[in-house]
């Protein structure tokens, strides 16, 4: 699932990324997410999953 994520740490800085560990029907614009990294070859790709502690 492709998503654009804006970083809490820097307003206006966004990543086109994947939302993972989240059912498609459960995805919502403005839902809090947290980063997870996936290793592909020698690159670590930032992905995001729902953050149960987020606000």
């Amino acid at each position: 699932m492709v998503a654009i994520v804006e970083l809490v740490e820097q307003s206006g800085l966004r990543l086109t990324t994947n939302l993972v560990n989240c059912a498609i029907d459960a995805a919502r614009i403005d839902m809090p997410v947290r980063v997870v990294f996936e290793e592909r070859d020698d690159v670590w790709i930032p992905l995001f999953e729902p953050d149960p502690d987020g606000v």
Binding site: V2, A3, G12, R14, L15, T16, T17, D30, I45
Partner: protein, 401 residues
């Protein structure tokens, strides 16, 4: 503001090749058909053409995305040029036409032949789509490295504008309550008009049920929200307004253009994810003319994806920000007999992806009253043509005096 330089330029002729799926014809062959037709349509001889402009330049991008470039066409037509320009970094696909407008307005050329050729249907018909990074650089396997913009999108499967623009559409739905039923009106309106255009690709009637039955491509875009790749070439002649008066057709004066690029020109860093570069290009256009959106008789707005036409409606002030959904609701307002006839040839969604130039061509057809069965009634005299999405956007306001 009536001293805008673009008023010294006019559209004096148009041409278009055969348009179709998997024609198997050479791109130069199609290009020459369009260009020779445009030159004749203006009542010119090729010796009169002293300028040449194209987007995005020769054989640029994935296979089928463009045809011959400036030097090849100059050679094929044996033109004597005083000015030329061809390249992808312009205010949208019609940016090449606006460059020609600027050239004639400052006297660098008298008659500029502008053209855009695509042969994506034939190029893609023989196999998978070229140009998506996974196929262009080694199958996406070990060792493959995406570059440029793809470096930021391809690792996530966001491989094409269908995905990037779908995110904007979703955001628009989130902010303004826009619905798929409203989005569908762009596609249904295009199809109704295409039924009256002999050159359109998809002419059979389409219902809202047909739309919802189509497979999803990238939520919220189904198949009918995405334009159809074709083979074809379109050409227009931009002439000095004072030279155009004595030609075959009543000149279509360029009243104003919009070419602005503000904010961050990016698919994901733009300050407002419900609009794109078109926002500023559209606003600029109205700063250069005393005419207002209510004066426009026909609107030909880029619909490479259905949502782009809605975003252009807002950018050009035909409705308020976020109001394009309710503006197109039910489809009556944008129909041929509505208050703002939209994409009267069928747009790229149904008439084929001629990539921007098709909208300008159709604007001229309507202003010259040659739309046949699809001609808008009431003798239209003012038309807007706009093209582009994401960081690309450019628009022209044409007037038949």
């Amino acid at each position: 503001m009536n001293d805008a330089g673009e008023r010294r330029a006019a559209i004096s002729g148009i041409g278009q090749s055969q348009v179709g799926r998997r024609l198997g014809r050479d791109a130069m062959d199609l290009t020459l058909d369009a260009c020779l037709e445009a030159i004749a349509d203006a009542g010119l001889d090729r010796r009169d053409v002293d300028g040449l402009a194209t987007y995005p330049g020769g054989w640029f991008g994935p296979r089928g995305f463009s045809g011959p470039g400036i030097p090849e066409l100059q050679d094929a037509l044996r033109l004597n040029l005083n000015w030329y320009a061809g390249g992808p970094e312009a205010p949208g696909q019609l940016g090449s036409v606006i460059e020609a407008v600027a050239a004639v307005a400052c006297g660098l050329a008298n008659h500029v032949l502008c053209f855009r050729t695509v042969w994506e249907s034939t190029a893609q018909g023989g196999g998978s789509r070229a140009g998506i990074g996974t196929t262009a650089g080694g199958g996406g396997g070990k060792g493959f490295r995406a570059s440029g913009i793809m470096e930021w999108t391809l690792p996530y499967g966001a491989a094409s504008a269908a995905v990037w623009i779908a995110l904007f559409a979703k955001r628009h739905m989130h902010e303004y309550g826009t619905t798929r039923e409203q989005l569908a009106q762009i596609a249904l309106n295009a199809r109704r008009n295409a039924g009256l255009n002999p050159k359109a690709i998809y002419r059979e009637p389409m219902s809202l049920e047909d739309y919802f039955a189509a497979r999803m491509i990238s939520t919220p875009f189904c198949l009918f929200d995405c334009d159809v790749p074709v083979d074809g070439s379109t050409a227009v002649i931009v002439s000095r307004a004072d030279r155009a008066r004595d030609l075959r057709r009543p000149p279509l004066r360029v009243e104003a253009v919009g070419t602005a690029l503000r904010g961050r020109p990016s698919w994901d860093q733009f300050d407002d994810l419900t609009t794109m570069a078109m926002r500023d290009a559209g606003a600029m256009l109205w700063q250069r003319t005393g005419l207002r959106p209510a004066d426009v008789d026909v609107a030909e707005l880029y619909d490479g994806f259905s949502f782009l036409a809605m975003a252009w409606l807002e950018a050009l002030g035909f409705c308020g920000k976020g109001e394009s959904g309710s503006f197109v609701e039910g489809g009556t307002r944008i129909a041929r007999d509505g208050e703002l006839p939209l994409n009267t040839h069928g747009g790229q969604l149904s008439a084929g992806r001629l990539h921007g130039y098709g909208f300008l061509h159709e604007a001229a057809v309507q202003l010259w009253g040659e739309g046949g069965a699809r001609q808008v009634r009431g003798d239209p005299r003012v038309a807007v043509a706009a093209a582009g999405g994401g960081p690309l956007g450019g628009c022209l306001l044409l007037v038949r005096d």
